[in-house]
């Protein structure tokens, strides 16, 4: 790929105070190219647009300027930091296409990989981390929508995952716009675009974002496309007119509650059939709503806040199958079969708080929202986490991650202090008293 901007040189650009040294070309697409650059002592990324993109998208610079002013809704966005255009001096020195501009943003760390790597089956990632990624995605859109903004063009292509943590980064935020204003040209990506947008009956906004979000969550959770079932198998050549039919004119969710025309094929769509039953009914229900009744009625799509709640609860229900070790998400107090090995799952001890019910499985966490009904779900700063004993994995302990000392009430009637950073063995535990509220262990 040929770099549009002169690599290795230092450019004076309008929009920032100091010079920017171009280090290397990171990649390019239909819109422009992305470079790694040095600004002061910091490594940053620079996106520079092709002239053709700028001429097609007249609102681009205004949208970017407003985005930068609005500041990032949430750390999951690789948000534009500064709008940059070449200074007169730079234009004279280098052959940069006239009228072009770009923006500076944070550099994506190398351990964040494209979400397509997960969907393509190239990534080792746990179900817990996939669910965490889904939560972070719903949270990011929640914060974006609360700011009155919409994303418009969400797809697998602009999502990156950190497989070891489930952290995400959402890139290409240059279509972000004030909801309802439509100062932009992007309508979306077929397969992720809401049917009414694909058919040209509506412009993208928060309602269509909610559709795209559901599609993206489904693809992360199942590695399958929610609209590819038997109707897809009837298509010989999957080209644009076929995609328009499948995703716009006659879109049917493969697990629709009523319409069974598009059920997955046991061979061609095996991924969907294997992964869908992993998730609890309350989470499945949100997909059935957005991709069912919400398919044609944008106002009935599940809100970002509902996704957050359902995904956080699914994480709370996570436990491990004693037979095969796989992660399962059925309710801890109910016996059911493991989706992976088919063995009967015994009921699992769980922690009850005033607002939470968390299965006692290694790596599960307790958060502020489990105690306080006024705080929205947030999984960034756990108050406690469940850890297996380093020498005997079957012995679990609850680690105090808060800054306060807790009191453990034990089965023998004694009590013990659990200082910050210490773990309390669950075998003897009845209850923990914390300043946030009590944590009861239900066996």
């Amino acid at each position: 790929m040929t770099a549009l901007l002169p690599l290795g040189t230092t450019l004076q650009l309008e929009g920032i105070s100091g010079p920017l040294r171009l280090i290397r070309l990171l990649g390019g697409g239909g819109q422009g190219q992305v470079y790694e650059a040095e600004y002061g002592k910091e490594r940053v990324a620079l996106k520079w647009y092709f002239p053709g993109c700028i001429s097609k998208d007249r609102g681009l610079d205004q949208r970017l300027r407003e985005c930068i002013r609005a500041t990032s809704p949430n750390p999951s966005f690789l948000w534009p930091i500064a709008l940059l255009s070449p200074s007169v001096e730079t234009l004279q020195q280098h052959s940069i296409p006239l009228g072009t501009f770009g923006y500076m943003m944070g550099l994506r760390p190398a351990d964040f990989v494209g979400a397509h790597e997960h969907v393509g089956g190239h990534l080792q990632i746990s179900l817990r981390h996939v669910l965490r990624a889904c939560f972070f995605l719903a949270e990011a859109f929640h914060e974006l929508h609360l700011k009155g903004l919409c994303y418009k063009d969400v797809s697998l292509g602009n999502l990156f995952l950190q497989p070891q943590t489930g952290r995400i980064l959402i890139c290409d935020n240059d279509n972000v716009d004030i909801d309802g204003r439509d100062l932009g040209s992007a309508v979306g990506t077929p397969g992720f675009m809401a049917p009414e947008v694909l058919l040209g009956q509506a412009r993208p906004g928060t309602n269509s974002d909610l559709f795209s979000l559901a599609v993206l969550l489904f693809r992360l959770l199942t590695r399958h496309d929610p609209l590819k079932g038997s109707l897809e198998l009837q298509i010989r050549c999957l080209d644009e007119p076929a995609r328009r039919r499948l995703y716009g004119e006659d879109p049917v969710f493969i697990f629709d509650l009523l319409d069974e025309r598009n059920r997955p094929d046991p061979i061609e769509h095996a991924a969907a059939l294997l992964t869908w039953p992993i998730y609890p009914a309350q989470l499945q229900g949100l997909f059935q709503q957005t991709l069912g009744v919400g398919m044609r009625e944008p106002g009935r799509r599940v809100y970002t806040g509902q996704w957050k709640t359902a995904l956080a609860r699914t994480l709370d229900q996570r436990r491990l199958c004693p037979a095969c070790g796989q992660e399962v998400f059925t309710q801890a107090d109910q016996s059911s079969l493991c989706w992976a090995c088919g063995q009967m799952l015994p009921s699992t001890p769980r922690f009850k708080t005033v607002r939470g019910d968390v299965a006692a499985a290694a790596d599960n966490e307790l958060h502020r929202h489990h105690f306080d009904s006024l705080v929205s779900e947030c999984i960034d700063h756990p108050l406690a986490s469940i850890e297996a004993h380093p020498l005997k994995a079957s012995v679990l302990g609850l680690k105090n991650l808060s800054s306060e000392t807790w009191t453990a009430e034990l089965e023998n009637g004694e009590s013990s202090s659990v200082h910050p950073g210490q773990r309390c063995n669950l075998n003897l535990l009845v209850r923990l008293r914390t300043s946030q509220g009590s944590i009861d262990l239900i066996r």
Partner: protein, 254 residues
């Protein structure tokens, strides 16, 4: 525990290079330039293939001179071909019609799968056909998969038969257009070059850029939904062609 070992079912995307290997390609290093351009484009094509979990990109190549023959006969996964590309050799005439008939046979079902993504056919030539081009083209276009295919043509140098290449591509959507002149215009500018016309590569750099474009941006468009701008009206063509890359005016003139 790891996420279950499943992945989205993939449809094949057949990408076929149809390469002029007539004697004239020997002149001024054109054959070497084409070999280099194809070699250099394969890693990018492999990246695009990996980015699209729904497609299995399979590459083949036909060479034509006295007659047409498969240079890469087996549909080969692009990541595998990176290490296996054998250079094309130039000699003889320009049996372009024969090449199209050969491709037609490959696009028949069977051997072509029942379900696939639109194939991408890239015809590269520096001259005019010396055989019955019309017959070959008709054989090709009788095949439904050829009708659905994205057909691109790259004219190497200034002696290529642009009319013939345009016939291969099919009529250009905008009326009155014939072959576009080579140029350094940028996409979006008036009279921008279009992939629906033969692309004139007058030097090795431009040739490499066009091959790169066909093997990355076009493969992307044919295999996965791409972000759309403007009104989502029904496309005139069954695969939207991405903008051509801004070209660098060449230093090496043939």
């Amino acid at each position: 525990m790891a996420f279950p070992n499943v992945q989205l079912s993939k449809r094949p995307l057949h990408f076929i290079y149809i390469c002029d290997c007539s004697g004239s390609m020997q002149a001024n290093g054109k054959m070497q330039a084409l070999n280099q351009a194809i070699r250099q484009s394969l890693p990018g094509m492999a990246d695009v293939a990996r980015q699209n979990p729904e497609a299995r990109v399979l590459v083949r190549a036909v060479s034509f001179s006295h007659q047409a023959r498969w240079h890469v006969a087996e549909p080969t996964p692009v990541e595998q071909l990176q290490n296996e590309w054998v250079d094309l050799q130039a000699e003889g005439l320009t049996a372009m019609g024969d090449a199209l008939a050969l491709v037609a046979a490959a696009l028949r079902t069977p051997p072509m799968e029942q379900r696939a993504l639109p194939p991408v056919l890239v015809l590269i030539s520096d001259g005019a056909p010396t055989d019955d081009f019309e017959a070959g083209l008709q054989t090709l276009l009788r095949e439904p998969w050829a009708q659905k295919a994205v057909r691109l043509a790259i004219a190497v140098g200034h002696d290529a038969d642009l009319e013939t290449l345009q016939q291969f591509i099919g009529p250009e959507p905008r009326s009155g257009a014939t072959a576009a002149a080579a140029g350094d215009r940028l996409p979006g500018e008036p009279n921008a070059r279009s992939g629906r016309r033969p692309l004139q590569a007058s030097n090795a750099t431009t040739l490499a850029q066009y091959i790169q474009w066909a093997s990355t941006a076009v493969v992307g468009s044919a295999s996965m939904p791409v972000s759309q701008v403007g009104s989502p009206s029904p496309q005139q063509a069954n695969v939207p062609l991405p903008d051509l890359p801004p070209t660098v005016i060449g230093q090496v003139v043939w």
